[in-house]
Amino acid sequence: MAETDSTSPAPAVQVLAADGTVAPTASAEPYLEYLDRLTSEDHEQFYRDMVLARAFDAEAANLQRQGQLALWPPCHGQEGAQVGSGRAARAQDHIFPSYREHAVGLVRGVDLLGIIEVMRGTTHSGWDVSDPSNGNFRPYTLVIGAQALHAAGYAMGVSFDGATATGDPDTDQAVMVYFGDGATSQGDVNEAMIFAASYQTPQVFFLQNNHWAISVPVTTQSRTPLFQRGAGFGIPSVQVDGNDVLASYAVTAKHLDDARAGGGPQLIEALTYRIGAHTTSDDPTKYRTQELTDSWIARDPIVRFQAFLRNQGASDAFFQGVSTDAQDYAADVRRRTHAIADPEIGLMFDGVYSDEHPLMIEQKQWLEQYEAALDGSAS
C-alpha cells in the first residue's frame, strides 16, 4: 500500500513499503532503472548518511539546549528525502538549500560544523561556496523561498554558458533548489517557476513537504496537492514518498537527468514530516497532537531502510559500526563546537563590499581604535 498524503488523490512514488520490503508502486516504474545501478555499498552509504545526519542533528539540538547555539532547526524525520535527493545529484550539479538541509550538506561534502557556526552566531554562512570540496552547496537562505530565484537565475546562466544539454550526463550541469511547503506560498517560489519555465532552465525544484510551516499545516497553504501546481507552470511534476530514501534517490536522479538533458525544469514534492520542532524556539505541542507525530514516527526513513538492509543481508556488525561512527561523529562535533573562536572585528566590515569602500575603512578603523583604547584603560 502506497503512502499517500491526505490531500492527495494519487499515490506517491514509493519503492519500499513501510516495513522495508521492496514493493514499488506502479508510478515508480519509470524510475526503477536508477535503482538497478546502485550497489550494496551505495545502499550502505545511504544508511550511514542518514544515521550520521540524525546524530549530528540531535547533538546540535542538545548544544542549543546547553546554551552553545542561539537556535537549531532540526532535520529529524527528513533524512530520507534529503539523503536520497542529495546523493542523486551529480558532482557537477549546483545545490541551493533553504536552512534545514543538513543531510544534503553532509552528502555534498560540507563540514557541518559550518552550520553550527551559523547557529552559534560566529558567521552568516560557515562554508566557502567557492571551494570545490563543498560540493557546490550554496549558503543557507533564511528568508523563505528567496533562494528559488537564485537557483533559477543560476540555471539560466548554466544554459547561457552551454554547460548543459550537450548529451553527456557526466558533465552536463543541473541545479537543484530545496524549499518547503510553507515556501510554496511565497511569491518568489512562484516567480522562480515562471522564470524557470520561460527560460527552460536545467533545474529541479525539490519541495520537502514536511506538513508544517512552523505552526500552520500544509492544508492551510494549499487546497491541492502541492506537486499539482507544477502543471500550471508547465513544469513536469511528481510526488514521492520522501521517507523512502530509494524512491527519493531514483526520482531525483531521473528528473535531474531530464533537466540536464534539455527537458527544462522539474518539480518534485517529497512527502515527509518534521518530527521535531520548527526550531528550538518552537513548541509543537501547542498546535499538533502527539498521535499525529507518532503516526509519522512509525514511517521513519531510517527504520524503514534498516529493515530493507537487513532483508538484503546486512550484518549486525555493519549496523553497530555505523552506530559507533555516528556517536563518534557527534562527539567530535561537540568537541569542535566548544573550540569555535569568536570572530574578529574584520568579519563585520571586510566582506560587505567587494571593492574598497570609504565607510568600511573609516568605521572599522574607528572601532579598532576604540576597542584598543578600552583595552588600554582596563590594563
Binding site: D128, A146, A151, G153, Y154, M156, D188, S198, S354, D355
Partner: protein
C-alpha cells in the same frame, strides 16, 4: 546629434548617452547582460535599450516575465554564475516588489559569504517627477537603498555622466543602484566619448560661488543651476555641488565648499523625512560645525505620497523654493 569638429565630442540626450554606454559595456564584456520588462523588442518604455537586443541577441538582452522580484532574484543567481546583469526597473514606484531581493539578498550575499561571492549587479531605476505621470511613476525612492549596507547608489545629472557612470557601475564588483533622472532623459548635452571617467563616487563642484553652497543629485542639479543663475542677477554668488553618488557620499568637495561659503542648502525631489538630504545635513553639521554661519537647510518634496500630476509643481522644489531657503540662510 549635432555635427562636432571633434568627433569624440558628441551632443546627445541622456537617453542616448545611456544607450551608448550600455552598448560599450556589452561590447567590452560578454558577461554583461540586460534584463527587464519590455527592454528587448520595444527597447524599454523610455527606449534606453533600443536596438541592443537586435545587436547582441536575446540571451544578452532579456525580455523577462513581468515580475520585479523575479528579475532581481534571477540576476542574483546569474551574478553567482559569473554574469554581470544590468536590470531595468520600469518605473521608480515599481521597485518595491523587488525590495526583498535587493535588500536581503543582493545587498547581503557578499557579506554573508564573507567575500567569496561577488554581486556585480546594476539596477537601473528611472526616477523622479516633472513628467506629469500617474501614481507610482514619479517617485524618488533612493533613500531606502542609500540606507542599505552592501549597496552603492548613484545618480547622474548630465548626458556625459550618464555615459560614463553606467559603464563604471557595470564594472563595479558590488551591486549599484543606478537612479536615472527621467526628466533629464531628453535635454541634450555634450558627451566626451574620448574622455576619462571621473570616479563613480566622486561629488563635483559644477558652479563656483562664495555666498552659499547648494547641493543636490539628479534632476535637482539643474534646478540648483537655475537658482544660482537667478541669484547671480541679484548679486548673490552661489556654489553648486553635484553629489553624483548617494552611497557612499564623497563629502570632501562639499565640506571644502561649506568651509568657504559657510552656508549649505540641500535640495531633493524626495520627501525630506529620513532622506539623503537629512544625512548630508547631519554629517556637514558634525564635520564643518565651526565653518557654518547658518543651520544647514533642506528643500525637499513634502512628506506626502507623490501627488496627482496637476499638483506636482507644488510638490517638487523649484528654483524659487531653493532661493527662499537661500534667503533664510543668508539672514543669519
Amino acid at each position: 546629434m549635432t555635427v562636432s569638429i571633434d568627433k569624440t565630442l558628441q551632443t546627445m540626450p541622456m537617453a542616448k548617452a545611456l544607450n551608448a554606454g550600455l552598448r560599450q559595456a556589452m561590447a567590452a564584456d560578454p558577461k554583461v547582460l540586460l534584463m527587464g520588462e519590455d527592454i528587448g523588442k520595444l527597447g524599454g518604455v523610455f527606449r534606453i535599450t533600443e536596438g541592443l537586443q537586435a545587436e547582441f541577441g536575446e540571451n544578452r538582452v532579456l525580455d523577462t516575465p513581468l515580475a520585479e522580484s523575479g528579475i532581481i532574484g534571477t540576476a542574483v543567481g546569474l551574478a553567482m554564475r559569473g554574469y554581470r546583469p544590468v536590470c531595468e526597473i520600469q518605473f521608480d514606484g515599481f521597485i518595491y516588489p523587488g525590495f526583498n531581493q535587493i535588500t536581503s539578498q543582493l545587498a547581503k550575499l557578499t557579506n554573508r559569504s564573507e567575500g567569496s561571492l561577488q554581486m556585480p549587479v546594476v539596477i537601473r531605476v528611472p526616477y523622479g517627477g516633472h513628467i506629469g505621470a500617474v501614481e507610482h511613476h514619479q517617485e524618488s525612492p533612493e533613500a531606502y537603498f542609500a540606507h542599505t549596507a552592501g549597496l552603492r547608489s548613484v545618480s547622474p545629472s548630465t548626458p556625459n555622466d550618464a555615459y560614463w557612470m553606467i559603464q563604471e557601475a557595470i564594472a563595479s564588483n558590488d551591486p549599484v543602484m543606478f537612479f536615472e533622472p527621467k526628466s533629464r532623459y531628453w535635454p541634450k548635452g555634450d558627451v566626451d566619448l574620448s574622455g576619462s571617467a571621473a570616479p563613480l563616487h566622486a561629488s563635483r563642484v559644477v558652479r563656483q560661488g562664495t555666498d552659499a553652497t547648494l547641493v543636490a543629485h539628479g534632476a535637482m542639479v539643474t534646478v540648483l543651476l537655475q537658482a544660482a543663475e537667478l541669484a547671480a542677477a541679484d548679486g548673490i554668488s552661489l556654489e553648486v555641488v553635484d553629489l553624483r553618488s548617494l552611497s557612499p557620499i564623497d563629502y570632501e568637495p562639499l565640506l571644502e565648499s561649506v568651509r568657504k561659503t559657510g552656508r549649505l542648502i540641500v535640495a531633493q525631489e524626495a520627501s525630506g523625512n529620513v532622506s539623503v538630504g537629512s544625512e548630508i545635513a547631519a554629517t556637514v553639521a558634525e564635520r564643518a560645525f565651526f565653518s557654518l554661519e547658518a543651520p544647514v537647510l533642506r528643500v525637499s518634496g513634502f512628506d506626502v505620497p507623490f501627488p496627482p500630476a496637476k499638483l506636482e509643481k507644488l510638490f517638487l522644489p523649484d528654483a524659487d523654493r531653493v532661493l527662499e531657503a537661500v534667503d533664510r540662510a543668508l539672514a543669519y
